[in-house]
């Protein structure tokens, strides 16, 4: 199941999003060691988790959080233009039809196979979300190994700056173009997973 949430306030009021913030803490702070703030030592929440942030969450049959991503508008402060502007040679792509994918997160408890399925569902959900909301491009930053995997999902990617060849952990920025063709491209690469979209507003109603 795919659950979409709009804004931090709505997200904090719902169990599935709270478990997303908990998982983000386990992944980004505990596992990857990122130097980012936590709330009550339990939730990873930063200055970009605000009323404009959109959350896409993949849950299992019992409604548990399996994977999620946060989408930020690019016509207001976001990560690429605030923290990593140097990763883009010509400045970060921005505008009402461009969103930044951040905090792409897969639950640590998942086994390898389930991680792959969840990852593919999340990618498919992101593409579906873009097509439904008139989003024509996503941007994002990733370490080189992850960058290559993102490239291999099959969608159309363009590098925005140069990678470092001495440090495999250094970040690279990319733009991902989304069009009605994208689902077919994902399917061809074996990345597409059928998904069932659910808007939180409708789910609660």
């Amino acid at each position: 199941m795919v659950v979409t949430g709009n804004g931090i306030e709505q997200a904090l009021g719902d169990r599935v999003f709270r478990s997303m913030f908990e998982e983000r803490k386990r992944v980004f702070v505990d596992l990857l060691g990122w130097d980012i703030p936590t709330l009550a030592g339990r939730y990873e929440i930063d200055q970009f988790d605000d009323d404009e942030a959109v959350y896409i969450v993949i849950t299992d049959d019992s409604g548990e959080h399996c994977g999620s991503a946060r989408l930020l508008r690019t016509d207001r402060p976001h990560i690429l233009d605030t923290i990593f502007p140097h990763l883009c040679e010509d400045g970060p792509p921005a505008g009402p039809a461009v969103r930044e994918i951040t905090r792409f997160c897969l639950a640590r408890r998942l086994r390898a196979r389930d991680r792959l399925v969840t990852r593919n569902r999340l990618i498919s959900a992101l593409v579906r979300h873009a097509l439904h909301h008139g989003i024509t491009a996503y941007t994002g930053v990733a370490e080189w190994a992850w960058f290559q995997q993102i490239l291999a999902f099959g969608w159309v990617c363009v590098p925005l700056g140069l990678p470092s060849i001495s440090d495999p952990h250094s970040l690279s920025a990319m733009r991902i173009d989304i069009s009605p063709e994208t689902p077919r491209l994902l399917r061809q690469s074996g990345t597409f997973e059928p998904i069932h979209l659910m808007d939180l507003d409708r789910a609660a109603a």
Binding site: A112, A152, C157
Partner: protein
């Protein structure tokens, strides 16, 4: 020296290429623009063996291609082996610091020089669940490689490999669904990969040994293999179990 804009234009062109010939031309053109003379975009598998979905776009000196295929160097080539140890591109001059070179490796590298290959730069391509591959660019013997533009070369190599992979996928029949194992089967397979016998697995999981034997038999049937080693390797290859399942817990 090429610019990022040229690399971006290459990425777009490579992405739009629907035949190996179109991609070959695009790679050939950018290879020359980057100051390299040769390139090889390959999966590290024996391409003389029948199968068909492997990637192979090669523009190398003739003598070297023949020597390479005659010696069946696909997986044992020192450059290919070094590329398994890293995610980022590396210059061939660094290979000795990445893997231990034996006499045969040194002979391979010397033969490449004799065939006219100078220094080169290889970009590994590791996609989970797929055969490893790489994209290499090489100078002519005696030419100097421009280190400043290697980050651009790394981008070109990655995008070129992905474009080739896309073309190979489109030509192949649709990707067959990987066999699905049950939770219990996965647990048993992970323990097989850790070297446990059926009896030991039964003790660890608190079930009967016959039950374990049956789980593993069913799992082997799903993959269509007859040996437990092959079962563990197949499950590892397609991600049903991971190295973390085997090595860490």
């Amino acid at each position: 020296m090429i610019s990022l804009a040229e690399v971006q234009a290459f990425c777009t062109a490579a992405n739009a290429a629907s035949t190996p010939q179109t991609l070959m031309h695009a790679v050939q053109e950018i290879t020359a623009r980057m100051g390299f003379r040769y390139f090889a975009l390959v999966h590290h598998i024996d391409l003389l063996a029948p199968d068909g979905t492997g990637i192979r776009l090669v523009h190398y000196p003739h003598e070297w291609v023949e020597a390479f295929e005659e010696g069946r160097l696909y997986a044992s080539d020192p450059i290919h082996r070094a590329s398994q140890t890293t995610n980022v591109g590396f210059a061939w001059s660094k290979v000795a610091t990445m893997i231990t070179l034996n006499a045969r490796d040194r002979a391979v590298l010397a033969a490449a020089r004799i065939a006219g290959l100078g220094n080169g730069f290889t970009i590994p391509a590791h996609i989970p669940g797929e055969t490893n591959g790489s994209c290499s660019f090489a100078m002519g013997e005696g030419d100097d490689m421009d280190d400043a533009q290697l980050p651009l070369v790394q981008l070109v190599g990655s995008f070129a490999f992905e474009a080739a992979r896309k073309i190979a996928h489109a030509a192949a029949s649709p990707i067959p669904a990987v066999p699905q194992l049950t939770e219990r089967q996965i647990e048993c397979v992970a323990l097989v990969a850790r070297g446990k016998t059926d009896w030991e697995i039964a003790r660890i999981l608190g079930v009967g040994a016959e039950t374990v034997t049956q789980h593993l038999k069913d799992a082997r049937d799903r993959y269509g293999v007859t040996k437990r080693t092959m079962l563990a390797i197949r499950a590892l290859f397609d991600g049903a179990i991971s190295f973390a399942d085997i090595l860490r817990r």
